[in-house]
């Protein structure tokens, strides 16, 4: 990379920078200055990277979100096991600077390709694969206390939305009530600079786990009938979806209801949406929705809805292990109803997917299951 010459065209493409960009850029330069200063003084340069491990997250009881602790890891250039990561951190910093200066964004995969090259004089690559690069990007985020969006890097688009809301995305007005069967693909960056809400008449948000369930609801025009916004995150929702839900929840005062599978994975998705994730604990306060509610599937639904035993899926060893882990999370530990819920699933010995309700009737879930529970206010918190 060292020899990569900047073309005049690249230099000319300096874009207008927002205040936020300037702030990010300053902290990037600050990081580089630190290296230079210690090198000038003959000291070994190092970075303080906040620790992103389970041991460094705390559950804030009053705010009901997961917060990152203050523990930091020293990343040293002259440490055999850290030298390579240190070099990669600097490379990512440089990549971000390039993006900010040019006013462009790229995916984490794009970032990987932008920085990947053979180290001069060796046969070693700066990054072996994408998995080598992703954690470093997160490290830069936490080190600079900048969001991924502020670094002009985005995650892949995953998740769709329909409903009675109109918004502006990057200057284009979008009416989410007129998105056809595909829905509006939620972008990765939904910050106020990019996306503004124009009008919203919906009463609540229904978030479902998967695309298949979401289509059922969209096809049955559930959102029209119940005046809501319908979203899905394709499994574990990406940052964009979580951030958008958080914004709509807080700015438009819409309650969020989740319809997820009855398995440890579904529980965890709920946990992440409600309290934030361990890995991205530093973004909890702008993503977690502590007031989100869990509609289903519930363990008791097998009897309640009189389901056929053939739609159940046996719990695997791994599922049981994971369920026990989840039951011990501090944010579930004190909730008796949740403990009961998890115990019930374990004693059932099987899990239930939302799709299993189709065995009753194709539209059972949209016409009876969800409306019934919404009406009764029957959900887990």
């Amino acid at each position: 990379m060292a020899k990569k010459k900047r073309t005049p065209a690249q230099a000319a493409r300096k874009a207008k920078m927002t205040a936020k960009d300037r702030k990010t850029l300053a902290s990037l330069v600050g990081m580089a200055d630190g290296v230079m200063k210690s090198a000038n003084r003959g000291r070994a340069p190092h970075l303080e990277v906040p620790s992103r491990s389970l041991s460094n997250v705390k559950f804030n009881q009053s705010r009901k979100i997961i917060e990152m602790g203050s523990a930091k890891n020293r990343r040293e250039l002259f440490n055999l096991s850290q030298a390579r990561t240190y070099m990669q951190t600097m490379l990512v910093g440089r990549g971000c600077k390039e993006l900010i200066e040019q006013g462009k964004t790229t995916s984490i995969r794009g970032m990987y390709y932008l920085l990947k090259h053979t180290i001069e004089g060796t046969r070693e690559e700066t990054f072996d694969d994408q998995a080598d690069c992703d954690p470093v990007i997160e490290d830069v985020e936490v080190t600079l206390n900048a969001l991924r969006e502020e670094l002009h890097v985005y995650a892949s688009n995953r998740g769709s939305m329909v409903g009675n809301i109109t918004l502006v995305d990057n200057g284009d007005e979008i009416n989410c009530a007129r998105m056809g069967s595909g829905g509006y693909a939620i972008p990765s960056i939904v910050e106020p600079e990019i996306m503004q809400f124009v009008e919203c008449t919906a009463d609540f948000i229904l978030h479902v786990e998967k695309d298949t369930v979401w289509r059922r609801f969209n096809e049955d025009k559930f959102w029209k009938e119940h005046n809501c916004i319908l979203t899905h995150g394709n499994g574990q929702p990406p940052r964009g979806v979580r951030r958008l839900l958080h914004r709509m929840h807080n700015e438009l005062k819409l309650p969020v209801f989740c319809l997820l599978d009855n398995d440890p994975w579904g529980y965890y998705i709920y946990s992440v949406m409600k309290q934030g994730s361990i890995n991205l604990a530093y973004e909890s306060n702008r993503m977690a929705i502590p007031k989100a509610k869990y509609i289903g599937m519930r363990s008791r639904d097998f009897e309640l809805c009189d389901l056929n035993p053939s739609v159940t899926i046996k719990l695997s060893e791994n599922d049981i292990k994971r369920a026990n882990q989840i039951a011990k999370y501090p944010w579930f530990e004190k909730k008796k109803r949740w403990q009961k819920e998890i115990q019930k699933m374990l004693s059932n010995g099987f899990k239930l997917e939302v799709e299993s309700l189709i065995s009753k009737d194709i539209s059972y879930v949209t016409q009876e299951y969800v409306p019934e529970r919404l009406a009764k206010g029957d959900f887990l918190d």
Binding site: A2, A32, A39, L77, M87, M90, R94, I119
Partner: protein, 682 residues
Amino acid sequence: MASQVQASGKKRTKRRSTAQSMAAKQRSISVSEFFAKNRHLLGFDNPRRSLLTTVKEAVDNSLDACEEAGIIPEIWVNIEQTEPDRFKIAIQDNGPGILKRQIPLIFGKLLYGSKFHRLRMSRGQQGIGISAAGMYGMLTTGKPVKIVSKISIRKPAHYYELQIDTKTNNPQILNGRGDGLDIPPGEKGRAKFLKHKIDWESHYPIYEEDAEPKEIRSGTRVTIEIEGKYQKGRGSVDEYLEQTAIANPHVTLHFNDPEGTLHTYRRSTTELPPEPKEIKPHPYGVELGRLMTMLKEQKEGTISQFLTGSFSRVSPAVARRICEAAGVSTRSGVKKIERSQADAIYKAIQVTKIKNPSTDCISPIGEDLLLRGLHRVVPGEFYVAATRPPAVYRGNPFQIEVALAYGGVNSVQKVSMELLERLLEETDTRTLRQFMMNTFDGLGSDSADKIMKAGEFGSRQSPGKLDLSDRERLHHCMRNVNVSDGQSMQVMRYANRVPLQFKTRDCAITQTIMQTNWRSYGLTQSRGSLPSGPVRLMVHMASVWVPFTSESKEAIASYDEIQKEMRLGLQAVGRKLGIFLRRRKKVKQEGERRSVFLRYLGEVATAVSELNGCDREDLLSNLHRVAKRVTKEADTKLDKSGKKITEESEVDYGDNVLIVDADHEQNLITHLEKADPQKKLF
């Protein structure tokens, strides 16, 4: 067998023999007859080993004689092939020579010698060896043993041709009508040597250009022709002589092998080992039977006098305590001691506290000479030696010495194409793999497999059926495959400075090495086997009486006391080796560390300079400076070539360590602390 039993059941068998007829056949057996039939007991079981045993017995005798007379030994070994399976072996020394009347007895009578009846450290013990070699020669080739001996520069030399009468175990002189041949000194004698075609080295070889040849003042030359087989490799004459040179740095050896090549091992010191003293037996080492014989031999005096006079470390006070414990009066006469009383005395000895025997009767090689000897013969980078203080087993004093050489090239990598071809012709192994493992010492099965694989040889390839291109490929692979990983430790065992070459597994030395945990000293070792690595280890046991497992003197018996001392010696050298290896590993790691850092510095500098616009080259040179400081340990070890490691004074190995710069062909000695083992021990 079964049919015989059935037959005897049917009819009465004839009486086969009577006590009378059997008595007619009963007669005494001469020692010579016994050993002629049981020659394997003495090390003459196969042609190859017979050749070695013959050389070994003669050389051992020569060294013993020289040292006893205080002469710095110089020995000539000549092996000449006379017929396809016959060899003429001649060994000459510069020892004191043998008196004319003793020559026939020493070489022509089994169990005749000076060493059996005394307790003194020497190579030979029983007085069987050389006469047995002569007898074996006579049995297999019919040729007599020829001896030339000279006791002074002015006195005539004596020439004998001898045979053993195996019936009576007595010598028969064949030449000069049973009286031998006298050769006068000086010019006249030289003509007579030529006339009778008697070989004799008359002068020492010259090493300096213009030095006068020095005449050999005295000495003995013995020539034996035997049926044998000359083969290089493990258990060969070459190996024996090489190992002898290591343990006897005061000896110069000239070896003329059957191919006519002269090998010379020159002495590295002119100092003779201190003369070992003769001691009386220690009471703890005496068995009941021996005690009774000694009592019988004692003609007069009291029991107290007997005990103090025949044993070491028995003072009158100790004798009194023994007698009290045995319930025998100290003043009772030796003649009157009965069997039961002797038994009581024997038991009393065991329970009485007696001081250990004095240990000045053994002369160890010494750490300094061990290092020098090992360094002269074995290539390596690191040498360490340890001489244990003397200890005692069964009342016999003994001393253990251990020396270790690390590094260097395996013999498999030094072999020349010509030698390899000859080795391939000579070998009697079935597969190539076996051939390599048996011929090259220390080449483990893993390394042999590696070579086989590299050369793409079949696993059952016979070494005899290789064509020229195969042989060249094998040679190439042997030289280029890295075998140092799979190499197993090479062990050289010595008893009283004599190398032991057979029965490796039975020997206390090998067993102790295998029981020692070498992993903590930086070597790899699988459970219950020798450690691997380019290591040569020598273990020497010096004692007035080395407990061999058999008459052919090839393995040391495992006494607990001996094994304990060996273990301590091994641990002493192991620790030093561990320090060296760890140190070397660290230096290597530091070097690697630096190269890792340097690899990334360029990238970091580029990224930083693009981030904040600073000067890339400035930053890079600053970072390099820091990198150098952080990894300075690697620096102190780097020399001009950029990869070599030299030890510096900050590592304190103590004395008895020798480190050699492996990159220099001349094997410069960089660090040698002289140790004075004698001073330390006594």
